[in-house]
Amino acid sequence: MATDDPLNAFITRCHIPPSGEGRLSGLTIAVKDNISTRGVQTTCGSQILKGYVPPYDAFAVERLKAEGATIIGKTNMDEFGMGNTTENSAYGPALNPVDPTRVPGGSSGGSGAAVGAGMIPLALGTDTGGSIRCPAAFCGIVGLKPTYGRVSRYGLIAYANSLEQIGPMARTVGEVSLLMSVISAYDPRDSTAQSRPFDHTPSSDVGGCRIGVVEEFFGEGVDHRVASTVFSAIERLEELGAEIVSCSMPSMRYALAAYYTTCMSEASSNLARYDGIRYGLASDDRKQWHHAFQEERQQGFGKEVRRRIMLGTFALSTGYYGKYYVKAQMARANVRADFARLFSDVDLLAGPTMPTTAFHLGEKSDPLSSYLADILTVPANLAGVPAISVPCGTVERLPVGLQLMGRHFEDERVVDAAFAFERVVS
């Protein structure tokens, strides 16, 4: 841990100058370490990619440079994005800027910590099941998971392609909106990227906006103090002219199992590329292929990554594919159908981002208990809808995040509601 980085927010410090002038001129930014930066080590928080230097920039990084930003570091993260604490980083955990005995959340915890501590104004994160929103909530900053397809994933090192998006993190909604407008542009190199640029100036008018409060988001496992803080925030939106409606999302019952089955299955396929031959830890080319491969992956991957690769392999294997992967896709369709039904009646859905405030370091040592903490963030990834976390108060001095979700490609409406809320409380 470097002395100028007491929160261990960075894996690599760098100075990548801008390539042009634009909306980010004069600003510094940090980039999560699973987003490729030409000439600068990109590890995904993993030992297996230690020393890997990408020969090209991710699309989002090209955009930052072209718009005048200076990139000053690659931020710490749970290995390959697998976790919600950064404790699964091969480079040691990042710490929470509000209380360093606690985690900053994850997996974009280094980005959350660096912005929360005021080290930088802006950061990029990635969100597969809550990895932008969780650290935003735990560190008291703003984080947006864009609609799936709105930001190119070109150069994002893949973990679970059907779920993940690159997105902006900053101290204010206005800055998040600015950064979103920079990174959201059409890129033909990502075949899931749509041509739907985000060219928006936030508006604080929420008059007439119908906001659904999902009862399941306040159910079992949600700290009652967090719930009441979020309820108060929703009341503030009502005072601003929004109409509040109670609603239900029954598919929440299956959402977490559907999410984990899907992301583990995709990870087992994506991470098969780490064979130590083209990049990553060197494999011993005197040994037989499988022995060399197994040894290198045992040394290079941490336990959580190996658990997920193995469970994903299991969920896709003969005899279990129908029971796990196929069922998970049916559950995912249920979640999408629930969102479609609710969004035919309301404009936004609201609830807490995380069920609790930031965990103590070491508190989530059991994998299943860690997974359960993602219950409120994974539905938006399963459906591909936009979701933002905006600070809405504290419980025992620890930040609480209000989560707002919107229809596909209505990221602007989500940003506006968060902006309205932020203005009234600041």
Binding site: Y279, A282, K287, A337
Partner: protein, 89 residues
Amino acid sequence: MIERKDVEHIAELADIGITGEEIEEFTHQFNAILEYFDILDQVPEGTEGGTVIYNVLREDEITPSLPLHEAIGNAHSCEEEFIRAPRVM
């Protein structure tokens, strides 16, 4: 129920090295996780998926690619323009 031999088999399929101690630990953890996943058995069948986003197509045009030395620059063992790999047989 997953047993030790299942975990060993999955590790082999996934090409993941695993220690004896980890087999014990993973067997216990996998059972807890898979028991939780059993809730998927209760998912009603035949739901329409709501909005599904389709791939975007583009013309298949030739564009410049990485120079060879950059493309193989992260490999540990190369011979001329080739990457050395462990033997398969």
